[in-house]
Amino acid sequence: MNMREEMQKASSLIAQIGNFGLQLLWFSLHLSVSTWYFLLEIAHMVESCFISSGLIKSYKALNLGKLRYLAIVVGSEEAYQTSKVIELLQWLEAIGVKHVCLYDMEGVLKRSKEAILEKMSNTTVFQEADENDKLLAQKHMMLEFVSFSDGKEAVAKAANLLFAKYLTSNNSSEDEEGEIFTEPHMTEALRAVGSGGPEPDLLLVYGPARCHQGFPAWRIRYTEIVHMGSLKSMRYGSLIKAIYKFTMVRQNYGK
């Protein structure tokens, strides 16, 4: 009897020590990972300061030739921080970016359009018709406001346009179908329903996760998608670095 009690006590003690040991291990693992991320964050902040103050030569002269169109995706909760969005746009203007597309799923930025345009002098809203003229010679920064409804729903609307074309074609032979259902016609149909902006070269995601959140699929075939962290903790140096890295990318386009 005594033996058994002793055995039970011993095994429960061992179990307790084991548990404690595991918890200690988990805690120290968690601590080291947290410390690592903390140090990484400090390094990023320091690097960002250096970049902002122009100390790092390679970031000083950005070749924006490749960056014709920039898109910004913002988490919808963060999109309410209009002042942060305006600050970001002011940075982009200072850097020399001419065309910016602002996207958030719920259209918060669309609703804040007036407030944003008010604070930004020298900006105009992107108009389809002006695209070809303004693209070459512009003194203004062009802004486009996009939301989830310009993605899949716009594709459905464009599909109906193509269906109408299909119905009015003379024969519904396979050749005719092949003429109507093509990618260029789809691009045209999207333009006709008001969702035909150009394809961004670079897409910056300000949010907790690197996820494009439903940015119109037709427009991001070859877009570089970069995660910038939260809008709240955005840094000018990180923005410069992201744009610089983009200018160094070489795409094969599948070839």
């Binding site: 919808s76 799923m105 109906n160 996760a209 494009h212 070839k255």
Partner: protein, 262 residues
């Protein structure tokens, strides 16, 4: 739903760079062969981690623009590997995976189409992992194809419903309806997408540090976490997969919330 992702998509980038880096017989073919071995390992790890669905960007329509001998090599390699899937000892049979070939199959040669069909039939009763092999695939082609199919279906439906009504009359009716409300709905298009039977990917891994989707599952990645490890595809290992899977739960709740709001 748990903290393991349901569907992981892979863009296997870096085979040619790997061949160059290792000076492997100085040609890209060896890189693709090494890439296939890496694919087999990754599928094994996915199976072991309990991931129910995987999709791979095996051949893009854009890849047809490559040098003809490279395209030919990749097609031959693909045919060889597809035929290999039917063998007992293949990974697909070992893990009971069900294979789906998705893409614009009309762009492929007859032998590959036949072999792919055979492989799909042979694995149709497998209840393990779902493996989507995207060949001759691009998202834009997928969307246009889905719209074309929806239009064809609607037209057949209209003709059947109208019976003996003249075609022109039917057209006028439908055109009137189009102005009032949409005939082709979003769900019609989604039903005809190549990837219709697959759940949307939870994680998309593109190797070689490239940060773009290159026309892969653009429609399906609304809530998908994008990963771009710098490693070249033939050098990818379990640790890269584990890293992605470990990061997933943290973002899952945020993405779930977004899905509900939409």
């Amino acid at each position: 739903m748990g903290t393991i992702p349901n569907h992981i998509a892979f863009i296997m980038d870096g085979n040619r760079r790997y061949a160059k880096k290792h000076n492997l017989w100085a040609d890209d073919a060896a890189g693709h062969k090494a890439g296939f071995l890496a694919l087999a390992s990754m599928l094994k790890y996915c199976y072991e981690l309990g991931i129910k669905c995987a999709s791979i960007y095996a051949l893009s329509i854009d890849n047809f623009k490559r040098r003809p001998n490279e395209v030919q090599y990749v097609m031959d390699l693909m045919l060889e590997k597809i035929q290999g899937l039917l063998k007992e000892e293949s990974i697909v049979q070992k893990y009971g995976a069900r294979v789906y070939f998705r893409g614009n199959m009309t762009l492929l040669t007859e032998p590959i189409r036949v072999a792919a069909e055979k492989a799909m039939v042979a694995t149709a009763n497998n209840t393990g992992m779902m493996l989507f092999i995207c060949v001759a695939y691009t998202s834009t082609d997928e969307i246009v194809h889905a719209i074309q199919e929806s239009c064809n279906n609607k037209w057949v439906g209209i003709q059947e419903a109208n019976g003996s009504k003249a075609r022109n009359q039917a057209i006028r009716d439908v055109e009137y309806q189009i102005e009032e409300k949409a005939i082709i709905k979003l769900r019609d298009i989604e039903k005809h997408m190549y990837m219709d039977v697959a759940p949307d990917p939870d994680i998309l891994i593109r190797t070689s540090g490239e940060h773009r989707l290159s026309n892969f599952q653009l429609w399906q990645t609304t809530y998908c976490l994008l990963y771009s490890p710098a490693v070249l595809w033939p050098e990818i290992g379990l640790r890269h997969l584990v890293r992605a899977v470990l990061d997933f739960p943290q973002h899952r709740s945020y993405l779930e919330k977004k899905k509900e709001q939409a």
